[in-house]
Amino acid sequence: MTIAAKFEIEYLQYLDAEGNEVRKDLPAFAKDLDHMVELYKLMLSTRIFDAKSIALQRTGKLGTYASCLGHEAAHVGIGSAMKPEDVYAPSYREYGAQLYRGVQPREVYMYWGGDERGNDYQKEPARHDFAWSVPIATQCLHAAGSALAFKIRGEKRVAVCTIGDGGSSKGDFYGAINIAGAQNLPLVAVIVNNQWAISVPRKIQTGAPTLAQKGIAAGLFSIQVDGNDIIAVRKAMEDALERARSGQGGSVLELVTYRLGDHTTADDARRYRGEQEVKDGWAKEPMKRLRNWLVKKKVWDDAREEAWKAECDEWMDNEVNAYLETKTQPVTAMFDYTFAEVPADLAKQRDYVLSLDQKAH
């Protein structure tokens, strides 16, 4: 038998579910314990932010909201590895990555609270990132196009996109990794495999044993990572970003995690998955293992946890207040950003709506 080509997919993990080190070659950043505490704190604030968002939705102060519960290591690992000048194209629940890049909780609330200004991120580097992308996987091609722009202009920047396990079935994802391979683009495509695409489980999404191996077909470096282990996520991201930045091509990362919550607040996951599975998911969740590890290293304890939670609560209260105090946009806002300048034909409709609004007041 002649073999035309041979492939394998590495699985990367440093910490097991209890926070024990499963390998001794910890990456350099993980030896900086202050930094690891910072990552833990951001994971915890992301979780507190998420709980606050759901509470806002349940009390009628937010529209439908997509929770990130259980994805904290994956998302913070992505956001913390990127450089400010890189560009991020998320789907719609990667708050842990986005908070790291300057998206403010009030902006998340505004978006899910029915106000386009939530997409107008005010702080860099988020300000040059893409906004949430609801049409599944479409953002992968925006990242590929951004990566092509960086290559054309000779900029040492990387475009990162994230999609779910369901998103990896879409043509836009395949198209993005395909052109990244064909043109050697600085693209890092991260599949956050949380096992569920609303109610459709991973096992009937594809017959491929790993999602990472889809990258091999595109000629990209491909790896499967324990997505609940932030050390592994961060390490895989750093390596992928470095390869892309130095012209060695793009990567596909599959971060294996679990969606502990419903798909969105409009979903009820009890309709399609059992309690035991969710219990198993909680046993492997990302916060506990990192906390155990940091406690063993004597850089974290209950008192610090409570103090940080109190700080987060105050931060979120401020953000919620800022959101709730934001006045609705004038009715003309629906016209004003359709084009750079409102065309004459559209201005007539704008004037009409304005006249209705003035009559109403």
Partner: protein
């Protein structure tokens, strides 16, 4: 000055703008070494290199989505869909992202891109190569839909489309790609978007059309003149945003309106123009509005194709019907 065809005018505009603006890039299937299947990008890769004239993988979704990404990063991509009939995989990226990026980010991110596509029938092409479907795009907010009808307007409108800060669908009537030549100075002068062009003044009936049918409308106007009927001919050029004022002014003068387009009749863009005429010019009308269009069928394969297309005779007959009323 060299006389050039419509397709050569497209190439001339692309070359001019690429030479004067480093951010302009061309991408699509076969646009590089081959210069495009119609040769619209002939010679550009030699001049501007493989990255600025990029042969993409064979996937229209990729072309459209990458175009959005390039544009958001400050490039001015000109993407080619090889034929209008292959544009459907691009529509999600165009409607959900290119056309709404500015609005959904309150102006933070924008998509100054052009999507070019050879449009329409009449060249005895295979199936799916002859579609007229501009009306599928005219209902998408945030998108300009532009169609040239002559070499000079192809040059001037394409320059304007590339320079426009918002996405533009640029549909090139392939039936008239090489129909005739005219002087088109390579002076970088753009024509205005968002305005109709009155190509012939008349007093009895207004013929409103765009793209390849402009030629039939002008020929119909000649024939009508021979019969003592004075027809005004309007090339809409930018379908959306529509310059209805120019059409209204004409219909108010003539009292008669014949709309000509190649796309199917029902919910074609002619329906929008007819509705506007009814809303704004009803009391000026001396006869019902007529539409001379394709039928509500799939573009036939080429043995029957010319029976589908609006002909000079059908336009003349429609105009005469409007004259017969009063």
């Amino acid at each position: 000055m060299a006389q050039i065809t419509l397709i050569e005018a497209v190439t001339q505009a692309l070359a001019y703008e690429m030479a004067h603006d480093d951010s302009v890039v061309v991408l699509g299937e076969d646009v590089g070494v081959n210069g495009g299947v119609f040769r619209a990008t002939q010679g550009l890769q030699e001049k501007f290199g493989e990255l600025r004239v990029l042969d993409t993988p064979l996937d229209e979704t990729t072309i459209a989505g990458v175009t959005v990404g390039l544009a958001v990063q400050g490039m001015k991509p000109v993407a080619e869909a090889q034929f209008e009939g292959f544009i459907y995989p691009m529509m999600e990226q165009i409607a959900c992202h290119a056309a709404r990026m500015r609005n959904r980010t309150r102006g933070r991110l924008t998509v100054p891109a052009v999507f070019r596509a050879p449009w329409g029938g009449g060249i005895r092409a295979p199936e799916h190569h002859s579609e007229a479907n501009e009306h599928l795009f005219t209902n998408i907010p945030g998108l300009r839909v532009v169609m040239p009808s002559s070499p000079a307007r192809a040059y001037g409108l394409l320059l304007a489309a590339i320079r426009d800060p918002d996405p533009v669908m640029f549909f090139e009537p392939k039936r008239i790609y090489r129909q005739y030549k005219e002087d088109v100075p390579d002076d970088g002068e753009a024509l205005p978007l968002d305005v109709c062009f009155v190509l012939r003044d008349g007093t009895d009936v207004t013929l409103v059309t765009w793209g390849a049918q402009v030629k039939e409308a002008l020929e119909a106007a000649d024939e009508l003149a021979a019969q003592g009927i004075s027809a005004e001919v309007i090339d809409v050029a930018t379908l959306t945003p529509l310059d209805f004022d120019t059409i209204a002014e004409s219909v108010q003068k003539t009292g008669r309106c014949v709309i000509v387009h190649e796309a199917p009749k029902s919910a074609g863009f002619g329906a929008e123009i007819a509705a506007r005429v009814a809303e704004e010019c009803l009391y000026d009308l001396l006869a019902p509005v007529e539409r001379v269009t394709g039928y509500d069928v799939h573009t036939p394969l080429f043995r029957l194709e010319m029976k589908y297309m609006p002909s000079v005779k059908r336009i003349v007959d429609a105009a005469k019907r409007t004259m017969a009323v009063s």
